[in-house]
């Protein structure tokens, strides 16, 4: 790896890739104009809507919602990420010493402390309506 000197010509594939990406956009935009019907284009309410997998749009997405959803979403992400540490640990468990076991115990202890903290702070209380 270290003995190869890279010259600008080595990056031609990247250039081709970007040209293909740009070209695809330009081509499809041109093609849709070309193959669409010759009639004068009609704008309707339905046509101007955002495309949502064919399902009709219901209302507006921008309405106020309870911040508790946000809080729970954040906490979910936080406690969900532990899996990415647990999974490789579990796969390699048989080859490991006791040291790694205690390292993971420490990690779990810290995680549980975080859980205790948010519990005591009242982040999981749903029923108190200010």
């Amino acid at each position: 790896m270290t003995d190869k000197i890279y010259v600008p010509a080595d990056y031609v594939p990247i250039l081709i890739q970007s040209l293909v990406a740009l070209g695809f956009v330009a081509l499809t935009m041109f093609a849709t104009h070309f193959i669409s019907s010759k009639r004068k284009r009609i704008r309707t309410l339905r046509k101007d809507e955002n495309f949502e997998c064919g399902i009709e749009v219901q209302g507006n997405a921008r309405f106020p919602f309870s911040v508790k959803y946000f809080l729970v979403a954040i906490l979910f992400v936080l406690f969900d990420v532990e899996i990415i540490f647990f999974y490789p640990w579990a796969i390699n468990f048989l080859q490991m010493e006791w040291r790694e076991f205690f390292v993971m115990l420490l990690f779990v202890a810290l995680l549980l402390f975080g859980f205790y903290y948010i519990y005591e702070k009242g982040a999981l209380e749903w029923n108190n309506d200010e």
């Binding site: 790896m1 270290t2 402390f113 702070k121």
Partner: protein, 459 residues
């Protein structure tokens, strides 16, 4: 390493006591913890231990800068109860974030691997983003947090892209291995490596608020809570400049002669723009933001000429800057609390009614401006001598002109408190404890001015 573990345990304990509503325990616990951390940190002095496949290197340089960071923590918590006077909440989250930011700073001062460097930088930055917005119902604080977060994550993106390019070309994250790679190129370093290095430089310049990447700093430093501003200007700058020094002296040392042009341009611009912008500020907090920009320029000068003593001089400069800035911010906090403003007229007649506070403020400002025989003067003197010996006489001339400009704005509060005409403001009540603290810091600034070699010869 021991310092990081001790600080983490301290932060978790602090959160535990905070959530149990034991407000009285928190600050004593933090002081004891920080002092233990300091002792543990210094106990590794001279051993140069390498941890985790060269990821974390506890050499003398990193221990010295970690000690400065822990000292910043102690000084900030000294004034925490004055700033948060009358707050009923235990505030354990803010304290814990300050401690975590210090951990990030220590990692940034002792990394041996670009990945760990990035982790440390993010630990520091994310804590700062939250701390900047910790005055939740103040719109300026929200603005500061938002601006800092957006611009900061953008700069982090640059930095990460730079790290990726450097890794892509050299094949290693290890600083020594990168240096070996550069040496193996025989002066024929690929352009893409240079590009990656420059992107890393852009990220670092942003973090130390060097021109032209300083635009975030005035708004962020003005909007954040004052105690947090004092912490951010000191801890952020110390950690970033330590990391920058490590990067340049270990990884990019073989390319240093090519880098000096870039660094010199940034340093000159930073000194001139920082000092000239500070002249026009009436808000003292905003003035401190610009003066912090100018101080980054002086810090960058230590990276341009690398002598055997440049690490020591950098350490001394950083130490004198930290003590002076925190003293000035402590007095500023007291005045803001009483008078409700950061503008110069709030200092009118301070010397008559509050001689101790006025004295400490004057010493701090004179040290920052570089008036002999204070610590700031000795720091600048040694730095300028180092730079001049390296053949950059014109850079020293620019820096001296910058210092002369800075005397104008640093003396504004001194003049207002000692020589102002007109109605003096009423007396400010402050505790004996506060007076002793700022007096000790002032004496420290004077003492350091007489004994600079003690610190400089450490490294």
């Amino acid at each position: 390493m021991k310092a990081i573990i001790a600080l983490s345990i301290l932060a978790v304990l602090n959160m535990f006591f905070g959530v149990r509503k034991m407000k009285k325990v928190l600050l004593p616990l933090i002081f004891i913890g920080l002092i233990i951390t300091m002792i543990l940190n210094i106990s590794d002095w001279g051993k140069s231990v390498h941890y985790f496949n060269e990821m974390f290197i506890a050499d003398n340089f990193s221990i010295a800068f970690s000690s400065v960071l822990i000292l910043i923590g102690i000084l900030i918590f000294m004034f925490a109860n004055i700033y948060y006077k009358g707050v009923e909440r235990p505030l354990e989250d803010i304290y814990a974030l300050i401690l975590f930011a210090i951990i990030g700073g220590i990692v940034m001062a002792s990394f041996g691997n670009l990945i760990l460097f990035f982790v440390g930088l993010e630990t520091l930055s994310i804590s700062f983003y939250v701390l900047a917005g910790s005055k939740k119902f103040d719109i300026a604080s929200n603005e500061a947090a938002m601006k800092y977060f957006l611009t900061g994550s953008f700069a982090t993106g640059f930095l990460l892209f730079g790290i990726a390019l450097v890794y892509g070309v050299s094949g290693s994250f290890n600083l020594e291995a990168i240096n070996t790679y550069i040496l193996g190129c025989n002066g024929n370093v690929p352009m893409i490596f240079i590009a990656g290095m420059l992107l890393i430089f852009i990220g670092m310049s942003f973090k130390i608020a060097a021109v032209p990447f300083h635009f975030w700093s005035p708004d962020v430093y003005t909007g954040s809570p004052t105690l947090i501003t004092a912490f951010m200007t000191t801890a952020g700058k110390v950690a970033s400049i330590a990391a920058f020094y490590r990067l340049i002296t270990i990884a990019f040392i073989s390319l240093h002669s090519e880098l000096t042009t870039t660094l010199t341009v940034i340093a000159v611009l930073t000194i001139i723009v920082g000092n000239l912008s500070a002249v026009y500020q009436d808000n003292l907090k905003r003035m401190f933001a610009y003066s912090g920009v100018a101080q980054s320029g002086y810090l960058l000068m230590a990276l341009i000429v690398l002598g055997p003593k440049s690490a020591g001089i950098l350490l001394f400069f950083v130490l004198s800057y930290v003590i002076a800035t925190i003293t000035a911010f402590a007095v500023l906090m007291l005045i803001r609390e009483e008078r409700g403003t950061f503008f110069i007229p709030a200092f009118r007649g301070l010397a008559k009614n509050n001689p101790v506070e006025a004295f400490a403020m004057a010493i701090a400002m004179m040290s920052l401006a570089g008036i002999p025989p204070l610590a700031g003067f000795m720091a600048k003197y040694n730095l300028f001598v180092l730079t001049a010996e390296g053949g950059y006489t014109w850079l020293v001339v620019v820096a001296v002109i910058g210092s002369m400009i800075s005397i104008y704005f640093y003396f504004k509060p001194i003049l207002a408190s000692y020589f102002s005409e007109g109605e003096p403001q009423h007396k400010i009540e402050s505790s004996v404890n506060f007076k002793i603290n700022i007096l000790v810091l002032s004496i420290l600034m004077i003492l350091l001015g007489f004994l600079p070699q003690v610190i400089i010869n450490l490294l």
